[in-house]
Symmetry: C2
Subunit: 503 residues, 2 copies
């Protein structure tokens, strides 16, 4: 699959080597103390064009402008004619008058680095126009690998004669901006990012990408490939980041209701325990801490229940993650997105937030603070098993450990689950990016069925000691601890209700 991309060099930035299972990886610890090096990293770039003003476009344009202030490098924003985003861009200080706001193709034609942050469907429809507008030698910047997947699925290619680089923040756009602002007074605040060099026409593509990442405020930047980023990003959001979470809580809510719980209690034991204490425990203390803090006793409430649930869920979850990965890597998944977009031109996507559990969610959120919600061991075992299934599948497919822990654990517990805790899971599925939304709708029900039809019946059997031992002694805990040393120093706060993007 993807060759591990564990080591790289920079002519500009001081790098660091971290220990990961089976070896080391080179990473770039970020920080504002590196901003004086940005002109060297951006050598030859006088104008940056950020195309699009969604959450990522907004956050990146603002962070880049702030970080590059005083360098003479101008950050400009390009929008399509009639874009509804123009007023907000102007309010943020990008204006036609000073030449920092303009038509997307004009901005593209004038920029030395063109960062494409329009929606996936727009990128699929319009990339050829953008490519045709590029000035000779301008670098193409991406923030995830979707376009590569689309080009492969449709027989297209990037144009020759241009650097093609990616910097991919492992969090939603709103967090990229908010944590950057916090980084002004709290050292280390920011969102981690991966970077990839897909084409190095200039010979300076790595430093350009690293400079972009430092300017975004990434506390920690690791290397991947554009294909690796695409595979892990698209597969991850269909699995543990979004699709599996939705399937899991729907299955568990029905399970606890049938066991006799009232709606609010069933919601607490399925959704609230997951987005609350389970998430917090993993974020603060790692994966095994969830199991460790459960009692030793057999039966409900203890570690035995966790182990049974883990044993029952790991196999079917792994089977599904492998299926998702295959379909993403093959291009099948993106074909389905393209077909769905065509259908959705005629009919809107129906919403999935009408199921009864989300009404119970409002009750539970309203009484927060008045009750302590504990870790539910059955829910925890199923969730952690699914997370480990993704970790193992990504490792088997050759992803770097930094990417594995970011796409399987850190982004889940530090970015998406906190958002779901604030709003709810169905709201998030109904409001995230269309590629993620379509993926969650395709795969969430598959996870739900796998839990209901395979894992729940199997959870009556004793735990598999070897499987549990493989979990407790798993090398991912080392990689996660190494990444944790470089993680943001602040909790990622949840933005005011707006459509997030799982990326």
């Amino acid at each position: 699959m993807n060759a591990p991309a564990n080591s790289f060099t920079s002519a500009v930035f001081p790098l660091q080597t971290i220990d990961v299972p089976g070896g080391t990886e080179t990473v770039l610890p970020g920080g504002r103390h590196l901003f004086p090096l940005l002109p060297a990293a951006f050598a030859g770039v006088r104008r940056i064009g950020v195309i699009g003003w969604g959450p990522q476009g907004r956050a990146q344009a603002l962070n880049l402008r702030d970080s590059l202030a005083g360098t003479g490098i101008r950050v400009t924003v390009g929008l399509r004619p009639g874009s509804a985003s123009a007023p907000d861009a102007r309010a943020c200080g990008f204006t036609e008058d000073d030449g920092t706001l303009g038509d997307w193709l004009d901005v593209t034609a004038a920029a030395d680095l063109v960062i494409l942050l329009i929606a996936d469907a727009a990128l699929a429809a319009c990339h050829q126009q953008i490519f045709a507008a590029l000035r000779p030698g301008a670098a193409i910047g991406l923030s995830h690998g979707f376009l590569l997947g689309h080009l492969r699925a449709t027989g297209g290619a990037f144009p020759h004669g241009h650097d093609v680089i990616a910097v991919c923040p492992k969090g939603m756009g709103d967090s990229v901006r908010r944590l950057y602002e916090q980084g002004g007074h709290v050292g280390g605040a920011g969102i981690n990012a991966s970077f990839a060099v897909h084409a190095d026409h200039s010979g300076r593509a790595t430093d350009l990408a690293l400079g972009w990442s430092v300017a975004l405020g990434s506390p920690y930047t690791f290397r991947t490939t554009l294909a690796g980023e695409y595979h892990s990003d698209i597969a991850g959001e269909r699995a543990i980041l979004l699709g599996a979470v939705h399937g899991l809580v729907e299955a568990l809510y029905g399970h606890y209701r049938l066991a006799g719980d009232d709606p609010a209690t069933a919601y607490e034991r399925s959704c609230e325990t997951l987005t609350g204490p389970i998430r917090q425990t993993i974020s603060r203390s790692g994966l095994t801490a969830v199991r460790d803090q459960l009692g030793d006793r057999l039966g409900p409430g203890g570690r035995d229940t966790f182990d049974r649930a883990y044993t029952a869920a790991y196999g079917p979850a792994r089977e599904l993650v492998a299926e998702i990965y295959d379909e993403v890597a093959d291009g099948t998944e993106l074909r389905s997105v393209i077909l769905a977009e065509r259908r959705l031109a005629d009919r809107p996507m129906s919403r999935i937030s009408g199921s009864p559990m989300w009404a119970a969610g409002r009750t539970v959120r309203d009484r927060r603070g008045a009750r302590v919600v504990d870790i539910e061991p059955f829910t925890a075992g199923l969730f952690v098993a699914t997370m480990m299934a993704q970790v193992d599948e990504f490792a088997e497919r050759g992803h770097p450990w930094s990417e594995i822990v970011n796409e399987s654990v850190i982004e889940a517990v530090d970015s998406l689950l906190p958002y779901m805790h604030a709003r709810d899971v169905a709201y998030m599925v109904d409001n995230c990016s269309r590629t993620a939304r379509l993926g969650a709708r395709r795969w969430g029900p598959r996870f739900q069925a796998a839990y209901e039809q395979i894992a729940f019946p199997a959870a009556g059997s004793p735990p598999d000691g070897a499987l549990v031992a493989a979990f407790t002694g798993h090398p991912v805990h080392q990689a996660l601890a190494a990444a944790a040393k470089l993680r943001p120093s602040v909790d990622i706060s949840v933005p005011a209700p707006q459509g997030p993007r799982a990326e």
Copy 2:
């Protein structure tokens, strides 16, 4: 999409024109009185090679041999080396000694018509070997369009210089044999079939296909295209024939359990009512009869409940059928089957028959006869809406009406649902052909989620009178009535437990 293939001519058989919505279709009514015409239809064919001895291979080889007895045309069976099917083939009178049983490639090389009835995965893996072994001018016979889909998905093609025809019985192989045997003493017994002429090298391909269908005992043969057959066959088994049924009964079982039903009652109101009285009513009296026999009163138990369920389910079901159809026609669905087959070389497919409702099913089957199970209006409304969603989607895609009613209604109520009634739905999903099994696992959970998350919450709203009127006045009822005049004159009995194939 597919051009309607409504009219054709035959130099051998007397054809009939039936009225369908918007026009007429040419069909061939079958029967043993036509057997004297078989030598003319098979002109130039001295040996028929049936490759494979699954349920279809066995049934077709036996029917062809019986129908062609005395004509001098020899029916031979080809098996792969070491095939476990050889003893049964010998027990049925196909032996190496008289040259009617042999190696699959030898049998292929000696035959003038080679009928490929090995499993989809084997066909995908081995079709090139078979093509290479064909004698010049030999006709290629198929019983569904899978191979065309596979060739399109992989960039392959049928070899030139050969007729490529299909005869596709609209029932499982065991039924094709059993109803043929009944046809010896009950006029009109048999399984309907579609036929397609994909390549007519000889100029006699239509009559060859019609002769094959008459010899199989089809009471009624209608024309389609190989692509149309493939699309409706693969999409249909993912929707109303198998996947949607599984999703529906899983969703309804949980729904009725949560409403307070004990397991056996919930099973009766979800699965038993569907495979029992709803199925029988549609089979005997058509789709509107299900609604007509419900009481006029509002509230539970009456037509109002049916109408609410119908209104709530039609939209999300149509959305899903359209998605399935797109993915089948695009090749995406078959790519996923190919990828799954690769994964399944390493790990077995987990079974889905462990969910609690199937234990309740045993209880319900054991007490059959002691209780009358009525039509449950909520279940009926959801099911009929899903069936109509498929009818409408297939009509919009341009399929002939004979194909629409066979693939959406007749095969469901006369072939697959009776089988599910005898065994249960999960057993059927776990034991049907791998292409169907994989498809049901992909799409069943999507239907389940659509019912649970979209249709059930919406069923609290009043019915949509226009949508219900579109159902009661729908032209499909005319097409179904026309097809019903030509349908088998006997009920299709359910075979002893064996792996069936949804086709």
